[in-house]
Symmetry: C2
């Protein structure tokens, strides 16, 4: 791992852009070097192997998620839960985000064969499920949620949202889904009849109605999915994705 | 595509075993030829490229799923729905099944870049969601289920079960999870306190309680998850997996 934070940041940005552009399977140290304008030998000075670099990248991605979740730790539990669900929603034109998650999914397929990657995946799973458990426990304590099995609910929500994302990205046409003008984010509309909701959006709405609403205590209310999506969006996302 | 059904079956078995043993990314025509005791030139006679062969394999896998679903089309709707959910459940020692689904997951990451693969994935998605829609519509007609939004419910169930499977296989230790005696299927038990339920099993149980039970009409009952798992298991699975 680098002892120069500035260089490490630049290298991690390079991994991010290289993964989006090349995917995981065919990725080379040279691709990453090209994306961050570093020499391949500098990369090898900081990271012995491509695997070390990708594990450091996963570590960074999960740490970013931890920070994003922590920034909302004091929000009301119902807002936090809808924000968590909204975090997984994206429209069909979000090709950069799709490409990134396809590359992450490729990395995830290495879990059974690669212990350092598997350890990062387990850390991510603990983070996601632990976050939902924490939200539910706070909400139960505050009387917003009924007294439900929090571990079961957390596993159900994380599997559901992850599954919707996997189905959306693997069924997508990828970069071909971009509209003629090259813009992203409006979901495309070949039929002219308004875009179909994406898999992530349809499942997030269903999750709110079928799984989350029945958790609410008498009189408690949920914010809208749109409010949840907005709450968890990074400040710069509208520009870069 | 082969015009000799016998040879095609043998080649498809070869793809299955080669995918389990080598995964998708590094798979070669030679690996497949070795697994089915055919020559590489024979494979190329039937299939121009590795991609053609893998698309034919996906086609075969989905057709098998269609047949397995069709065999239960006349069962009562509540049994069919629990069978569908049970179909996704497996224990942590099922290393062959995990390896196969990891290879399929690798193939799925090619969806955005490869139209023939994407078309097969879309066909699989239509099959899975269409099956749930069909089960729910039958059940509503028979008065077993309440009159719910069947499309929304189908998307929710398929995302949930697929997500649980993806998390289970990517978080697994793969072949390292096999017990010392080499046997599979008992889930391993390093602590001696009974195995934790796997991700697929925990989520299937939660799905029944949280999503499916609220669909039931007054007085209707669900079979157990165990009955559902048994109903959809292939006759030879206990031996081969």
């Amino acid at each position: 791992m680098s002892d120069q934070p500035g260089a490490a940041d630049e290298i991690m940005d390079g991994v991010y852009h290289a993964l989006r552009a090349h995917g995981y399977a065919g990725l080379t140290m040279q691709d990453i070097a090209d994306e961050c304008s570093k020499s391949k030998s500098l990369l090898h000075y900081h990271y012995d192997t491509k695997e070390d670099l990708l594990v450091a990248f996963l570590d960074r991605v999960i740490t970013d998620s931890e920070n994003r979740i922590a920034a909302h730790a004091d929000d009301p539990p119902a807002e936090r839960l809808v924000g968590f669900i909204g975090w997984f929603v994206f429209d069909s034109g979000a090709v950069d985000r799709e490409a990134f998650h396809i590359a992450l999914l490729e990395l995830r397929t290495q879990g059974p064969f690669n212990e350092p990657i598997r350890n990062q995946l387990a850390r991510s799973d603990d983070l996601l499920r632990g976050t939902v458990v924490d939200i539910l426990e706070s909400g139960i304590e505050e009387g917003v949620f009924r007294d439900v099995d929090v571990g079961e609910t957390a596993a159900l929500l994380v599997a559901t949202l992850d599954g919707a994302r996997t189905r959306q990205i693997t069924l997508s046409r990828g970069a071909d889904a971009v509209d003629g003008d090259g813009s992203e984010g409006d979901g495309g509309d070949p039929e002219g009849s308004g875009p179909e909701p994406t898999y992530t959006r349809a499942v997030a709405e269903a999750t709110l109605r079928r799984i989350v609403e029945p958790l609410l205590a008498e009189g408690a209310e949920l914010p809208s999915l749109e409010a949840g999506i907005a709450a968890m969006a990074p400040v710069d996302e509208s520009g870069s994705e």
